[in-house]
Amino acid sequence: MSNFDALREALPRIIDGIIVTVQLTLGGALLALAVAIAFGLAARLHNPFVRGGARAFIEVFRGTSLLVQAFWLFFVLPAFGIRLEPIVVGILALGLNYGAYGAEVVRGSINAVPKVQWEAAIALNFSPAQRMRRVIFPQAWVLMIPALTNLMIHLLKGTAIVTAITLQDLTFQINRLRESTGDTFFAFGIALVIYFVLAYILTLVMQVVEARAKFKLGRGPSMREIFKLKPDVDEAVTVGRR
């Protein structure tokens, strides 16, 4: 049987694997974003208990390897009477781990918003919640998107560990293809290309998110302008040339 016959036969399973990988990536990314924002904000509060708790959470999940966390949720939680579906374990491990990294990004970006913006919001008599929601966070959001994109790529690559907790993701299915064809280069070549494409799509989506966030702040073109087929001719340049 040639490699391509084997691939054709394995294709439905590989697509199932891709679906598992995409589910983990999206679920993990959403959870990570929520965790990052919640703990990033909490780590800036004045209340020492809230701040200390947030710091402890961030340090624990950043400091203990992703695989250890996945194993802990998968093997140890049942001993405490909590038995979760493997896909839930995967999403939890990825979301908590990368969420902890993201919390530092959120915290750093909020601190990087110029101080005058805080002062202006106070001068306008905004409440602390309004200040954060209407003035500070939208600006911090633009700052944090590139770092969050990097983290999401890491998260996507991190999903490959879930085979160890019995999930049949893309890596698992590709390993089966390798076993059936005996051709390592062929099977993993396909895997690397698929992961590469997924990572590339993720980057494109994040570029759209970044462009939108910038447009909302009045610092960039709108989505409609970006996707317009015929580019605008910059009038100043044309005039200058004449």
Partner: protein, 215 residues
């Protein structure tokens, strides 16, 4: 829930695995630091058409999962090569792709006047790099390199997938034999946490030291 008997029994097994974890980190880091430097210097000195394939290869290494790379190389190399050797080399190459970017940023951060001064003294290119540019570039990026060392350390459990008996593999095996996962996996986590916190402390000290000196 928690049995101290199993905790004490698994501890020596885990520490033995920790030795392999450290070994993989240290050797992998050495490879990553060396290869990353070579790649960064080549990318700056080579003409564009020649450095492009190198850039593409590094992007590919960065954008694909470490686990898949480990499995790929593990099954592709002849049987005589051990899993640990594969693990160290793959970790090293994977992280060299990140470190090359760090070196590059460090090199580009060296003021242009330094290049001009080296030219004015008509230093040969090798001496310009070795005596002028690299010492200044590397000073600046020591903390970043340290951060990658920590993150590499936290990625060594992935060697589980190619059957290397590092700490997490041992914890999982111990659990499989005794049906006690709680103690070994928790202890493995605690060891990682302690090691990460200690290194983070030293990296912060390095950062303060290098940030405060001018240049």
């Amino acid at each position: 829930m928690w049995s101290w008997h199993h905790a004490w029994e698994s501890l020596p097994v885990l520490l033995e695995g920790f030795r392999i974890t450290l070994l993989a980190t240290v050797l992998g880091f050495a490879i990553a630091a060396a290869v990353g430097l070579v790649v960064a210097v080549l990318r700056i000195t080579l003409p564009k058409w020649a450095s492009w394939p190198l850039h593409a290869a590094m992007e590919f290494v960065r954008l694909t999962p470490l686990v898949v790379q480990l499995l790929f190389v593990f099954y592709a190399v002849p049987p005589g090569v051990s899993g640990l050797q594969v693990g160290i080399i793959v970790l090293g190459i994977h992280y060299s792709a990140y470190m090359a970017e760090v070196y590059r940023a460090g090199i580009e951060d060296v003021p242009k006047g330094q290049w001009e001064a080296a030219r004015a003294l008509s230093l040969p290119p090798t001496r310009t790099w070795r005596a002028v540019i690299l010492p200044q570039a590397i000073r600046r990026i020591i903390p970043s390199l340290g951060n990658y060392a920590v993150s590499m350390f936290k990625d060594t459990p992935f060697l589980f997938f190619i059957f290397v008996a590092e700490m997490v593999t041992r914890a999982q095996q111990y659990g499989g034999q005794t049906f006690r996962y709680t103690e070994p996996i928790t202890i493995a986590g605690v060891i990682f946490l302690i090691a990460s916190l200690v290194t983070a402390y030293f990296i912060r000290r390095l950062e303060n030291r290098y940030a405060k000196q001018p240049g």
